[in-house]
Amino acid sequence: GIDCSGDSGMCCRKEFFIDFKEIGWEDWIIQPRGYHMNYCAGLCPLHMAGIPGLASSFHTAVLNLIKANNADAAVDSCCVPTQRRPLSLLYYDRDSNIVKTDIPDMIVDACGCT
């Protein structure tokens, strides 16, 4: 995956950090202090469709045929997360119990074109 830098309009990963103190959640979330959410942005022109992040397969061959024979009919290719990891939280629940859990797929590590 590619990290966004400068004004590249191509599909890339944008860093985005949420400080729990800034949103008034620091009283019930004990750890961590914030959350590196990150997100995907940018365009996927047809010649980038399916890379990186799509293993070469029969699907790729079909897609290439569509591109070659009928570029206009090919559907949109989107810039989406291709790698994510869990967010570990230690927090108070409504009964002031202390709960630790790992929420899957919360941090975007890489982006790619569908």
Binding site: W25, A41, L89, Y91, I98, V99, T101
Partner: protein, 228 residues
């Protein structure tokens, strides 16, 4: 149609930075709350003291290490299952009614956890502060509301011979599972001493020796229908 119209992040880049930020923060909040099965952010009325939290985490870690080194320990069911969200819960006791010979403690679990997880293990940690020499027999009863919710019934009873000060643990996993199965979320523990020589529990309890239940739970997996 403009390029990327059907894409999930379409249009975000065209917004003003402040608007983008607000949308991303709102999305992050909604995502965290929904994955914690919380309708809204909890309002914390009495946060746990740092002393009690650190002691509890230390006790649990020592308990895990004891289990890890003991060869006869059965296969640890808390080994993480790929892809299923797991929880570790620390519930500190709320004082209930007490007499010269008995003390009641309440442990509350939230409806969200009770409804969306299955309990793998639950352990009650009690700290004995001995009021005098010799052995102190203590009866520990786990109580739960009867199906009508009117009276308390004894789910299990254990007799302990307390000889020295320190922590003891009791497995309460079955009692908590049965509570959740009944749709209840409150576990009541009754400690009774045979004669009023003072309860070995409360004689010297302090904030960092307050009783707690440590539970491990796993998100209930919805039965996926495989369509061929």
């Amino acid at each position: 149609a403009p390029k990327g119209l059907w894409c999930p992040a379409y249009g975000l880049a065209a917004l003003a930075p402040t608007m983008q930020r607000n949308i991303l923060i709102a999305s992050a909040k909604q995502s965290i709350l929904s994955k914690l099965h919380l309708p809204d952010r909890p309002n914390i009325t009495q946060p746990t003291s740092r002393g009690a939290l650190l002691t509890a985490l230390r006790r649990m870690r020592m308990q895990h290490m004891d289990k890890a080194v003991s060869p006869e320990m059965p296969h640890d069911s808390s080994i993480p299952h790929l892809g299923v969200q797991e929880y570790e819960i620390l519930s500190f006791a709320e004082s209930g009614s007490s007499t010269s010979r008995s003390t009641r403690l309440h442990f509350h679990f939230t409806q969200e956890l009770a409804g969306s997880t299955e309990i793998l293990q639950a352990t009650l940690y009690l700290f004995w502060a001995i009021p005098g020499p010799g052995t102190h027999p203590v009866t520990v009863r786990l109580l739960q509301p009867d199906p009508m919710g009117l009276n308390m019934t004894v789910a299990s009873e254990t007799r302990l011979e307390v000889q020295r000060a320190g922590w003891v643990t009791l497995d309460v996993g079955q009692a908590v599972r049965s509570l959740f199965g009944q749709g209840s979320q409150k576990l009541t523990v009754e400690l009774e001493v045979v004669e009023d020589r003072g309860s070995p529990l409360l004689a010297g309890h302090s904030d960092s020796h307050w009783p707690f239940v440590a539970a491990q739970a796993r998100a209930r997996t919805s039965h996926r229908v495989q369509r061929r």
